[in-house]
């Protein structure tokens, strides 16, 4: 399990994130919410040790992250980046990269890696276009490939940076359903989301970051009742009860 203790992060000496503490519990989808520029992506990147901390700690199964090698970290946490280079390789090869942290030099993939990849492709619903080249795939299909790659990395914690951006509504819902299934398998999912309605509808917990500080961390219902999102975004959030539970909307 990943635990953040009083974590501060930023660029150079300028702190963007101030003293954030939270636990990424297995079995839960946590939505990280907040206005643009409030430090969500910086927080994610710092947890992953992609950029240095300015203070506080990231504990990975109780061990400070700086004591782990990049490879050990990669066996604990998966990162679904917001933007990335897409080399023109097949989707299957892309997913195979998820097994990289488990191989030592000279990186020969083993039979179990290939099995894992096939399983991940099926799991993410990407098996039908696994043989095709990344450049030929639509945005939604690519995101499924990246999700399969994340699954192939087989870590307890998965951090996603705006995984639904640029996707049509059907694919957005699919991504959220996949996140839920990951949590049901006993993984912790932390996702930066901009779509409040999607986040509150699907997440177990909402963490709200305002100006780099944790303004709220709790259930979506409590977040709604505390009116924290109204303050953070300057909107009026409302909800209606439907047969699928609360649906949120704003105006």
């Amino acid at each position: 399990m990943i635990e953040l203790r009083d974590l501060s992060a930023g660029y150079g000496r300028q702190a963007v994130v101030h003293g954030v503490s939270m636990m990424l519990e297995p079995g839960k989808v946590i939505a990280l919410l907040g206005p643009n520029g409030c430090g969500k992506s910086t927080l994610l990147r710092t947890v992953l040790s992609l950029q240095p901390r300015l203070g506080g700690e990231v504990l990975v199964d109780g061990v400070p992250a700086e004591r782990l090698t990049p490879r050990q970290l990669a066996q604990k946490m998966t990162y679904l980046a917001q933007s990335r280079n897409t080399p023109n390789i097949t989707a299957r090869h892309m997913v195979l990269h998820g097994r990289f942290p488990y191989l030592s030099y000279p990186r020969r993939y083993r039979a179990e890696d290939y099995e894992m990849v096939e399983k991940a492709l099926r799991w993410a619903g990407a098996e039908n276009f696994a043989h095709r080249f990344m450049e030929e795939l639509s945005g939604g299909q690519r995101q499924k490939v990246y999700l399969a790659m994340a699954l192939a990395q087989d870590t307890q914690t998965i951090l996603m940076d705006e995984p639904t951006t640029f996707l049509d509504v059907a694919h957005q819902l699919e991504v959220m359903a996949i996140a839920r299934r990951l949590a049901e398998e006993g993984r912790a999912v932390l996702m930066v989301l901009h779509d409040l309605c999607l986040a509150l509808r699907w997440a177990d917990e909402a963490a709200v970051l305002i100006d780099g500080s944790m303004a709220f961390w709790g259930t979506p219902e409590d977040a709604f009742e505390a009116g924290i999102l109204d303050r953070a975004f300057g909107i009026r959030l409302a909800r209606v009860m439907t047969e699928n539970g609360w649906q949120y909307y704003y105006g």
């Binding site: 990049p70 990335r84 990269h97 000279p106 030929e136």
Partner: protein, 339 residues
């Protein structure tokens, strides 16, 4: 068929491409050994190689054409695979050994060692590697300081190359004997190569090539971008430096005996990416084969077109490679519009 490229990246056609590359390699090597100012039959060439005949023909084959053919194969392989590594690691299709300061750095050191220790042929490739490494590290340093964009990298490379080239010119102006056949060195030529000069460079090239191939998996991951590759457990900075150092060793060792041949390192990886795909292992192997074929073929043409006179191979390479590259660019544009 969706496009030429999709077709080319299918499995069956890939096998054909590998087969064709291998045949072309053997063919170009054989022709390079047999043809020249004095044509020698394949049988006699083989006999000379096996030491079964003596005389002027055997002498030509063993002491002129064999080193030259080996030099072409090695330099083509080294420069093209170096280009593939540099383009992959920097994620920059415009990068190549001659563009990011590798060739000029190696060239300057070769010129300097011609002044300081003209007899030390064996250490020239090693010195060239150090020059190449200095070139690429300087370019990388400047580019990172200025934001590490693809454009600043190329601009920094041009500036560093210009400075090093001026250094080569200065050395040759003050000590005209520093580079025997200066014009050949600048254009790139493999005339008058000996096995003694080739052997140390060959060692470096083969070693660096094997190491690069063994790091193909790391290169594939690097191409996913810094954040993603680091989150997959790769130590990005050291790995980038290691791969660039190996690329510098490949190109530097080649420059030490063939001069400033530029174009192979830029265009062969581009051609191969279309033919064998973007996965690193295949791309590096394909570039090595393609580079060897291209340089050997061009060298052959430069020898036989105006025999008994010959052109430096660099001229032939640019005359043939340039238009072909433009053809590829035009084709790519067309493909994009119609896709």
């Amino acid at each position: 068929m969706k496009s030429w490229r999709t077709f080319c990246t299918r499995r069956v056609s890939r096998r054909l491409i590998w087969a064709a590359l291998s045949v072309l390699l053997l063919l170009s090597a054989a022709l390079s050994l047999c043809l020249g100012a004095v044509p020698i039959s394949l049988g006699d060439t083989l006999a000379a190689l096996l030491g079964r005949i003596q005389g002027p023909q055997a002498h030509i084959v063993l002491y002129s054409r064999l080193p030259r053919t080996c030099g072409c194969l090695l330099a083509g392989m080294a420069l093209a695979s170096s280009g593939a590594v540099i383009q992959g690691v920097l994620g920059n299709p415009m990068a190549a050994p001659n563009i990011i300061g590798v060739n000029a750095g190696a060239g300057l050191i070769v010129a300097l060692s011609g002044v300081i220790a003209p007899a030390a042929v064996a250490v020239t490739p090693l010195a060239a590697f150090l020059g190449a490494l200095a070139g690429v590290m300087l370019v990388l340093f400047i580019a990172e300081r200025t934001g590490a964009s693809k454009l600043t990298l190329i601009l920094a490379g041009m500036a560093v190359s210009a400075i090093f080239s001026a250094g080569i010119d200065a050395v040759v102006t003050f000590v005209p004997d520093a580079l025997l056949g200066y014009s050949d060195f600048r254009i790139g030529s493999l005339a008058g190569l000996t096995m003694a000069r080739l052997a140390p460079a060959a060692g470096i090239i083969l070693l660096a090539f094997v190491l690069v191939l063994s790091l193909a998996g790391e290169m594939d991951v690097l191409m996913l971008g810094r954040d993603v590759s680091q989150s997959l457990g790769l130590r990005v900075k050291p790995m980038r430096l290691l791969l660039l150092a190996l690329a510098a060793a490949l190109a530097g060792a080649a420059v030490s005996f063939c001069g400033l041949l530029g174009f192979v390192g830029l265009i062969v990886p581009h051609i191969m990416r279309r033919l064998v795909g973007a996965e690193s292992r295949g791309l590096i192997l394909g570039s090595a084969l393609g580079g060897a074929v291209m340089l050997t073929g061009c060298d052959l043409l430069s020898r036989i077109l105006f025999a008994p006179y010959e052109l430096p191979v660099g001229i032939m390479l640019s005359f043939l490679g340039g238009p072909f590259f433009i053809f590829l660019l035009l084709r790519q544009r067309g493909g994009r519009i119609h896709d």
